[in-house]
Amino acid sequence: MTTVRKKRSLEARRNSWGWFFVAPGILFFSTFSLYPICNALWTSFHNKKLLSLKPPKFIGLQNYAKVLSSPDFWNSVRASATFCLGVFLPIFIASLLFGVLIASRTRGRRFYQLALYSPAILSSVVTASVWAIMFDPRGLANQLVNGLMGTPGIDRRWLADSTMVQISTMLVYIWKTVGYYTILFVTGIGKIPASVIEASIIDGANPWQRLTRITMPLLKPTMALVSVMIFIGSLKTFSTQYLFTQRGAPLEPINVLTLNIYNTALYEQNLGRASVMSLLLFATLLVLSGIQVKAAGSGEDM
């Protein structure tokens, strides 16, 4: 009886230390994540205007009805979905390819990793500004494409045409993020036990067989993780679309959800509707995060 009591008090003491150590994390999460989420939920049922000092009125589901019946919102859903699907395959394939290439090298590995990763550390605004200059009709993008295709003087209308402007935002995003996902693949490949590779070499497997029969199957959890992360990341894209529209690009083709939320909150000053859109985006991200956690979990099993 005394031993059990002692054990319990020891456990309680341990638990209290556990609480002590996780308390800052919980506090941080509650302040900067949980509270804003709850606040957005509350705001979504009120007619809260950004600058108004009057107490907001409860309006039930009116904001939800307005948003869900708005063509502008559905255009944003389309723009976000197009962007996600448009960047997914290029990022996935390019980062996997670079990951495999870097992992297979013994010399200069760090240099290639750094070179690929460097765009990711640039501020999104700087990135978008630099690319906007390149997409100027007299900029590098037209010169390069026309030079390669032997079509001098053709304006590809990178920021003007409704299809091209979507491709332009995708190009910027791919360029900026591919290095990050490459690092994830390099790490994933690094986690494959050397003994398995060595055994396949002894068995006479050539490099292609090693890649397709050993590396790829064992990389599946990383692939799942990267896939979900690409979707989550691309749904949160904002800066490039924002900056391009500031530089004269038409809004409608690239009015992704995040940009619509920003404009609804800032220019319409309608926090209620902006909150509804934020929550819908949050729900989508939550589902994707659930898949990501599962994928990461299955990665640990490896």
Partner: protein
């Protein structure tokens, strides 16, 4: 020794005279306050204002002024975020179309007339040209002091006109049809890519320049009672068709995706022959390209009209008013008005260094104003101008207008389709306010 003492005496007298220029805040003695001052970037204005603030702080040792400036495209976002969190600065300015939401949501303090040595609102209005404070007047009170009110005219590069075989003094554009025809004569391209534009619009100033195009033809963005969006469809369609014809899917004469026309104009590198801007552009030109400013290669002409215009409408003017945060401490509010009154009391200095015009009777009648190149052109247009649309939905209406124009000009959308979309969205924005 006597000489040294005399010099010291003169220096101290001069220093005290400089300090004495700045007024002291009533009731500040023994107290210390902090004024947070947010404004937009201006390479000419910011250093000058810092000097004036330093003088004010020297005269008021208990006052600390924290002066911050932000890019003009960003300051609205910064202010809105800060005010939404009830952390707005003590003094701020933003374009009047955006400032109205601060004003109508009770975020701005009325002018402290007594603190600036005036009896009442009427006395303050008496200092300005008629109607210049209407935008910031609510009931009987005034809620802002004008930093600048700007109307836009057309800057013309005479050299580029001559290079195109034109006589700038005779051939400068009077009508929108002229603007298009001259652009076609001046434009140079490398294939489809424009290397020289005859003219280009200002993407940040459609309420100032595009709406008057519609109004000249009898249309309106918002009805007089503020309840209906888009009046006069034919006027709108004609103006939007002009934009479509002008843009890359039409005659390919310019587009918002090229370098801002006024910036390219000042550089005088043969990129743009005509550009819209206010009088302040002269100071920017003088600063960035003094050789061009001092040459006789540029001029300013009135805002164009349609050939079949129903009425003469010049560019709408917009403005910046300095405002004071009503949530600031009362003494901070008082000190803020005293500081603003002191700063803006140097109207001629603002005009000389920044070329911004405060619409005071004194300044507009001054020799300094009249000596500014082409100030008479701006004045004549200004006399016929009205302020840009300001209302509770003006920020939203402004961004919707931009989207509609650029969907037609850049995206090649049919003007009728774009107009219908604009009507629906603008009406929804107006209905939302009610």
């Amino acid at each position: 020794m006597k000489r040294i003492l005399t010099v010291l005496l003169l220096v101290s007298l001069a220093a005290s005279a400089a300090v004495a220029q700045a007024p002291t805040v009533p009731g500040i003695k023994g107290k210390s306050i902090e004024i947070n001052f947010w404004t937009h970037d201006d390479a000419n204005r910011n250093p000058m204002e810092k000097e004036l603030i330093a003088e004010f702080m020297a005269a008021n040792p208990g006052v600390t002024v924290n002066y911050s400036s932000y890019p003009s495209g960003k300051i609205f976002e910064k202010l809105t975020t800060a005010f939404a969190a009830n952390q707005g600065p003590s003094i701020f300015n933003v374009a009047i179309g955006n400032a109205v939401s601060f004003l109508d949501n009770g975020r701005v303090a009325p002018v402290d007339y007594k603190a600036i040595g005036l009896r009442n609102a009427a006395a303050l209005e008496g200092l300005y040209l008629p109607g210049m404070l209407s935008a910031v007047k609510r009931d009987k009170d005034i809620y802002g002091l004008p930093l600048e009110l700007t109307n836009m005219c057309l800057y013309v590069n005479k050299k580029m006109f001559r290079e195109a075989g034109l006589d700038p003094d005779k051939d400068y554009p009077r009508t929108w049809e002229d603007v298009m025809a001259l652009s076609e004569k001046i434009v140079q391209r490398d294939g489809q890519i424009i290397t020289r534009r005859g003219f280009d619009f200002r993407t940040d100033a459609y309420p100032n320049t595009f709406i008057p195009m519609v109004e000249q033809l009898g249309g309106e963005y918002v009805s007089k009672d503020g309840k209906t969006a888009i009046i006069g469809d034919e006027a709108w369609i004609k103006a939007l068709q002009f934009m479509k014809d002008f843009g890359p899917t039409g005659k390919n004469l310019g587009a918002p995706t090229y370098t801002a026309a006024r910036t390219a104009f000042d550089k005088n590198k043969g990129e743009v022959a005509m550009s819209f801007s206010g009088l302040y552009q002269e100071a920017r030109m003088k600063n960035t390209n003094p050789d061009f400013y001092n040459s006789k290669d540029w001029m300013v002409v009135p805002f164009p009209q349609w050939k079949d215009a129903k009425k003469r409408v010049t560019a709408n003017y917009s403005g910046h008013y300095y405002m004071v945060n009503v949530q600031s401490d009362k003494l901070v509010q008082k000190a803020s008005w005293v500081l603003l009154n002191y700063m803006l009391g140097h109207g001629e200095r603002y005009l000389e260094k920044v070329a911004v015009v405060q619409p005071t009777k004194k300044l507009t009648q001054s020799a300094t104003y009249r000596a500014m190149p082409y100030s008479d052109v701006f004045t004549k247009d200004f006399d016929a101008a009205k302020i840009v649309y300001i209302g509770p939905a003006s920020s939203r209406l402004s961004s919707l207008l931009k989207a509609a124009i650029e969907s037609v000009e850049v995206g090649g959308e049919d003007p009728r389709v774009a107009l219908e979309k604009l009507r629906k969205a603008a009406q929804a924005a107006l209905d939302d306010v009610e």
